[in-house]
């Protein structure tokens, strides 16, 4: 690279810094912790910048009401909820149409990896609570839910990682903030991908994109999910590493 080209390149990068100073591919600071709700069978906390979510898992336990039980597999129940003071204007407590839809797509995504067949007639409940919202709450909730399920010892064929990518202020970016979501040209595409077979199980989009732009977003999202998965691994290992070191295999079998 010539000096001039290099200078142009750096100018260009500087021009394209995002409102909070990030580069297009940068996440906000991410914090992940497993086992934060002691009474729950499994739990996790996920923080993407100012977006903060807790997920807790109970089960498998007998299905209530009983007539909804499936004789062949467990029923997965997901509840996504926002605290009234997690957003700018107070949100009325309880489920609304938006949270019902998010609960559904999160459940749909998780059901592609949870081995529900191992627990016929049971239910497994996943509760997700948004403590503070700054865009990307559903992907943070799904990332946390996947960890909480693993922490609860629920069998899963693979893990799920999720992130939102999209377009804001003329460029394709990763992990949008609320400020970026409010940009004139903003398009937000939440994506969830599995860790082993790299399959997409949640994908939503609304806005205006060419197929080429969408392809670029999908590429960025899948690369980002790989990175998120590495962070999920570290968080789970952090909790279980110490426990594992002490147990001797032939004690049990």
């Amino acid at each position: 690279m010539s000096d001039k080209a290099s200078k142009d390149f750096h100018e260009n990068i500087k021009d394209h810094l995002r409102p909070d100073g990030r580069k297009p591919d940068d996440f906000r600071p991410i914090k992940i912790e497993v086992g934060v709700i002691k009474r729950a069978d499994g739990s996790a906390y996920v923080e993407f910048g100012k977006t903060r979510v807790v997920a807790a898992v109970y089960g498998p336990e007998p299905m209530h009401p009983r007539h909804l039980a499936d004789p062949e597999k467990a029923v997965l129940i997901c509840r996504y909820n926002m605290l009234p003071f997690s957003v700018e204007e107070r949100k009325k407590p309880g489920p609304d149409r938006r949270s019902i839809e998010i609960s559904k797509v999160v459940k749909d995504a998780l059901s592609t990896v949870v081995v529900l067949e191992e627990f016929p007639k049971c239910m497994i409940s996943v509760d997700m609570v948004v403590l503070e919202a700054d865009a990307g709450t559903r992907v943070a909730a799904l990332t946390a839910a996947s960890l909480a399920l693993a922490d609860a010892g629920i069998p899963m064929r693979e893990m799920i990682s999720a992130i939102a990518c999209g377009r804001a202020n003329g460029q394709i970016v990763v992990d949008l903030t609320k400020e970026e979501e409010d940009a004139e040209d903003a398009v937000d595409v939440p994506v969830a991908m599995s860790s082993l077979t790299k399959r997409i199980s949640l994908l939503q989009m609304d806005g205006d994109l060419t197929i080429e732009e969408f392809e670029a977003i999908l590429d960025k999202a899948s690369n980002s999910c790989v990175k998120i998965h590495a962070m999920q691994r570290d968080a789970l290992l952090k909790k279980y590493k110490k426990e594992g070191e002490e147990v001797d295999i032939d004690d049990e079998y």
């Binding site: 995504a109 989009m205 197929i211």
Partner: protein
Amino acid sequence: MTSTKLTVEYIKNLLEMGRRLDGRSLNEFREIKVKYGISKKAEGSAEVCVGNTRVVAGVKMEIGEPYPDTPNKGVLVTTAEFLAMAAPEFEPGLPGEDAIELARVVDRGIREGNAIDMEKLCIVEGEKVWVVFLDIFVLNHDGNLIDAAGMATMAALLDARMPKLTEDYEVDRSELTDPLPIRDIPIPITVRKHNEHLILDTTALEEEVLKGKFTVTTKINGNLCAMQLSDGMAMTKEEVLKAVRLARDTSSRIRENIFGDQLKRVKKQ
């Protein structure tokens, strides 16, 4: 559950060979019929049949307040209900998660596809705007509800004429005036999957076999305006892109077929 395990296996085997129970090819739609003006009381209404699936949609308009962040734009409110008569598994009562999802996916297509010029629906900025109510009812469920609902909604919008506005901002329904300011015709197309095969316009029976769906809504210019992957389907990146292209091409063909006349009108504006 109305199908036996045997039927499920049979349908799967057929799909594996690229065939379907009703003889269609995997990406072939059933016959689509559109009937406009099914209710004279509505500002606009339409019924769309896709095979045996039958959906009606109606447009009503009222005067209301704009959202604070869009003071110069009208408001769009979309609801959907799966009537208990439409299928034995549907129960009366409040819309369930599937009906809510359908309404929201259709709503995002209309809204983000800029189907309506919302700025034209502003009466007094920050105070009074037109509120467009889109109500979708499923009368008979034989699969592919989102696509049928999206087409019915679009047909009802194209059918709609605005009521007259009196001088003191009251709605006078005795006289309908101009058509709604329609700027685009977004059409949702739902793709399902069996192994590596992509399938369009599934019947209710096929949907018992093929859990999971991917809906892609495209505009006249071929741009994407809404997408939703749900119901427990996992696709590779390549499959997603293949499905998006299939949906775009199908959507443009169907738009041409059922909204050919209106398309010219909309394109002119």
